[in-house]
Subunit: 143 residues, 2 copies
DNA sequence: ATAAGTGTAACAAGGATAGTTACAGAACGT
DNA sequence: ACGTTCTGTAACTATCCTTGTTACACTTAT
């Protein structure tokens, strides 16, 4: 099943940034994302571990950002909710008696790291503030 | 479950390149990759649709490359076996009555395209020949 | 004719993601 | 003190994706 946590995370953080005056309830976020409040709370838990949000329980509880939107990088968001691997390596260890099988893993592993770096570099060029600006304008990401 | 088709594809193509004199059987490839021959044949089917390999049925059948390794780009391989999306968009359409929900999809869609492009650009800098060289040397992908 | 292959369908197994309900505990108002 | 409104989290289910496996029709060379 496709992992849409990064998309939900950006959505949720955008909502929080626009309601920076107070705490936002998971139910309110869930309505906008069109999912269950528990799914949102699980996501917020990851974002909290990454230091991006803080929540309060109880009456008048809810969640808010810990930083200004221009200080939240999309790379931080990506790392908070993703395993960060564009492609996966072999499930089973290749045949070590085969010259290719013996060496292909390390080659692919380094290639994997390089491709993942390319993703992170590009994500790192955006902040949450950029997303908010685009959402406010109802426009799209410029290429 | 993690998708390791790209890794298997690179592995298989490397094997084919090293046995360029004849046709290689799926069972032989499966042994090196350490999986079932049918898994390999399914993979070869995708690679065939991408024009990278050709197979022959029957006695003395098997598969071989259609191009020289230096003419096979890893981007071609990636496209042959992947849907090419680093992250997924919302499963459910966000709430269109919410200003964020109404606009976030197109913003994320364009961001997705840009991140995917970054992956493709980087993959495009390698050919199968580069992989073969690295495997032969038993070394790793230089950064 | 026989043996050795591919192509492909059908099904099972395993794992990841998301959806749902339920409930304990925290915080605030009265 | 008590009830209300939240979060945090466990437990369970549903669904989908990937892989593994068996089976078999069809193709090709000897």
């Amino acid at each position: 099943m496709a992992n849409s946590q990064f998309a939900m995370a950006v959505h949720v953080l955008t909502m929080l940034a626009r309601n920076c005056d107070g705490r936002v309830k998971s139910g309110y976020l869930a309505k906008s994302v069109n999912t269950n409040a528990v799914v949102i709370r699980r996501l917020l838990c990851d974002l909290h571990e990454a230091g991006l949000v803080v929540s309060r329980t109880g009456y008048s509880g809810g969640t808010c950002l810990t930083k200004d939107p221009e200080e939240i990088n999309l790379l931080d968001v990506y790392r908070a909710v993703s395993h960060g691997e564009v492609f996966s390596l072999h499930r089973q260890k290749p045949d070590q008696d085969c010259p290719v099988g013996r060496n292909i893993e390390s080659v692919l592993c380094n290639l994997q790291k390089e491709i993942d770096s390319a993703v992170e570099e590009r994500l790192g060029t955006y902040t949450l503030d950029d997303i908010i600006t685009l959402v406010n304008k109802g426009r799209e990401v410029p290429v």
